[in-house]
């Protein structure tokens, strides 16, 4: 059998090389499709921002303007709502409380999740897969199931209405999440790195802190972002475990409805202020976030 192709056949095919579309036409077509996707994306972003804009808009208005007429932007710009929040300790302490337990939770979680994720990514041990699955089920456990026992558990150990109580409670879903993300990042670091370090005489703790953690820096950054996110947005547990001393801002916001009606301006301003920490955090990790969102699993 001969594989040589007929020359005439090849010649005939070869004529297709210069197609009917001119380069200019093609460029136009590409540009048009690019503009179309820009437009769609822009449209989505605008629709997405609109509710947040509305909140911002209201937070800069007086209650009488909010309730009086429909205005697309503040006619009488006022910062009174914000000033009110920042001068009232029961308001701003809500932010301090939220920040405090979120920070504590991030610290505790990352400290215990790092070694555990390392164990999952490097070793097999009895029951490892089942343990991992059990962890993930905690990610899915609806907090509503646990509300009452939580209250009683923390009450009986004397932690009720402390920041650490909320921080510990949020470990329920944050530790599994952290292990899940970190395990993905760690598995993409070749095992040879570990072995080389041991041969070079590094002890495990020294290797872990000096070599391994710097290698998965971006993974840790992304993990912290997720920990922040889920601890910051969760309120059901935080509300149940606190009364006055450690109450999160989300709870304090409900106070805006009084007998004389709802103080819309303050509510909106408080809402805007809950968004700001998120913006800051996402700004800091923006360069790693694209990779990190796949949870190290692409």
């Amino acid at each position: 059998m001969s594989y040589k192709l007929e020359n005439s056949q090849r010649g005939e095919k070869y004529n297709t090389i210069f197609s009917k579309i001119s380069p200019a036409q093609r460029r136009n077509r590409n540009a048009r499709s690019r503009w179309r996707s820009r437009l769609l994306l822009g449209l989505y972003l605008v629709l997405m921002i609109l509710p947040i804009y509305w909140l911002l808009n209201m937070s800069l208005q007086t209650n009488s303007e909010i309730l009086g007429s429909m205005t697309l932007w503040p006619q009488n710009l006022t910062f009174d709502n914000y000033i009110g929040i920042f001068t009232n300790s029961s308001w701003y302490m809500g932010y301090v409380n939220s920040m405090l337990y979120v920070a504590m939770n991030m610290l505790i979680t990352i400290c215990v999740a790092l070694p555990a994720a390392y164990a999952f990514s490097r070793y097999t041990f009895i029951g490892d897969k089942h343990l991992f699955f059990w962890l993930l089920t905690n990610l899915m456990a609806p907090p509503a199931v646990f509300l009452l026992p939580y209250f009683q558990l923390y009450y009986s150990v004397g932690l009720f209405d402390t920041h650490i109580a909320v921080a510990l409670a949020h470990c329920l879903f944050n530790i599994p999440l952290a292990i899940w993300i970190l395990e993905g990042f760690m598995s993409s670091v070749p095992k040879e790195i570990d072995e080389t370090a041991y041969i070079d005489g590094y002890s495990f703790p020294r290797f872990f802190v000096k070599i391994f953690i710097p290698m998965i820096r971006s993974g840790i950054g992304v993990t912290l972002f997720f920990l922040f996110m889920f601890s910051w947005v969760e309120l059901l547990l935080a509300r149940t475990l606190t009364a006055t001393d450690a109450q999160p801002i989300g709870m304090i916001m409900t106070r805006t409805s009084t007998a004389s009606g709802i103080d819309w301006g303050t509510l909106a301003a408080a809402g805007v202020l809950t968004i700001i920490p998120g913006i800051l955090v996402v700004y800091f990790v923006r360069n790693h976030i694209a990779k990190g969102f796949a949870l190290g699993r692409t």
Binding site: Y3, L5, R10, K13, Y14, I17, S19, R27
Partner: protein, 372 residues
């Protein structure tokens, strides 16, 4: 069918390149003839892949033209250039079977199914993929995957050139050899122009009839493997080709002698004149004059002769069929290749450079000593 000509080609990734260092490809002219098997050899970062992508149309060159059979194709996208490219890491369509992978380019051109099948079977047969045709491409080994991606280039009747971008990087050593032979076989059968990018000189010389050596965005020499070995046109070629590479000595003409530092070098008259001319020439301002000699052409003996120089032997390495001798001359390290059974040498010995194989480099480029 397709003669690929690069005319005044240059490429920079910057929008406004400032100096030569901003260019990935510096101004060059080159012709790849129809049906040739070429290799593009060079260290990483020398612009090989950039050049390949310009030829295939993935990149548009910032200056100059790419001509296919004399027609300018600069703006033509890859899909209209009738070119196939095989990448460093095998690109396969995971979810398809091997058959569908091979048929993919044909189906994209809406080839009728009755013509797709025989073509795919034919290519699968050549590449020895027939038993795998119904397997999911995802589960293949790296070399099988790479064969599939090669096959996708071969199924198209209209392909006039196949470009390979270090295609054997991820293949096991013993399979590399087999695949390379397969490539050679395909080249002979189909008479397709093949350009093969690699940083491995052995790979280049076993595959290609002619090798283009690239260095800092330029093709510094284009020739057969033999030419590259015997007459390196640029010091880089001398250093890069051969193992170990060429030895170089920065020389000057002093006291009516060719001097390597404090060591007078015995060279033939033509060479001496050439070095003298170069030293005195006003054009050569850098004073960059070098003599090059391959380790193969240095003879070592224990006793001095008229045209030898004294050396300090640092080490001798027995490499089976030959020994590699490292020595010092004028504080610089040299390598020499001793044939099997060469008599042992002491710490001090004498080296003689074979006149016919000493080459003169001015500003790193080869100058034929006799022809000036």
């Amino acid at each position: 069918m397709a003669e690929i000509t690069l005319k005044g080609l240059a490429h920079s990734y910057e929008k406004t390149p400032k100096g030569a260092s901003d260019y990935a490809i510096r101004q060059m002219d080159h012709v790849w003839h129809q049906g040739g098997a070429y290799a593009l050899l060079g260290p990483s970062g020398c612009g090989k892949s950039t050049l390949l992508n310009i030829i295939s149309g993935l990149l548009e060159p910032s200056e100059g033209d790419v001509l296919f059979d004399g027609q300018r194709v600069n703006e033509l996208p890859p899909e209209e250039r009738n070119i196939a490219q095989v990448f460093q890491f095998p690109v396969i369509y995971d979810t398809m079977t091997v058959f569908d992978n091979l048929a993919f380019p044909l189906r994209n051109m809406s080839t009728p199914e009755y013509r797709v099948k025989p073509k795919v079977l034919e290519v699968a047969d050549i590449l020895e993929l027939t038993p795998l045709l119904n397997r999911k491409a995802k589960n293949l080994t790296a070399d099988e995957k790479q064969k599939v991606s090669m096959g996708r280039g071969l199924v198209r009747d209209d392909v006039t050139a196949i470009l390979f971008d270090e295609p054997l990087t991820v293949i096991d050593p013993q399979l590399k050899w087999k695949l390379r032979r397969k490539l050679k076989e395909i080249h002979e059968r189909f008479n397709i122009t093949m350009i093969y990018v690699t940083h491995d000189q052995l790979e280049a010389s076993t595959f290609a009839d002619k090798i283009a050596v690239m260095y800092e965005g330029q093709v510094v020499q284009f020739g057969t493997p033999r030419e590259l070995f015997e007459r390196p046109a640029h010091t880089f070629v001398g250093y890069f080709i051969g193992s170990p590479g060429m030895n170089f000595m920065a020389v000057e003409f002093r006291d009516n002698q060719v001097m390597f530092g404090s060591q007078p070098l015995p060279v033939n008259e033509a060479m001496e004149r050439a070095v003298a001319d170069a030293s005195n020439s006003v054009e050569i301002t850098s004073n960059n004059i070098k003599l090059g000699i391959r380790p193969e052409f240095i003879a070592i003996s224990s006793s001095p002769s008229a045209d030898s120089v004294p050396i300090q032997v640092t080490s001798v390495q027995d490499l089976g069929t030959y020994s590699l001798l490292t020595f010092k001359l004028n504080e610089q390290t040299f390598k020499a290749r001793l044939p099997e059974g060469h008599s042992p040498v002491g710490e001090t010995a004498f080296a003689r450079f074979d006149d016919a194989h000493v080459a003169l480099y001015i500003d790193e480029y080869l100058v034929e000593a006799g022809h000036e």
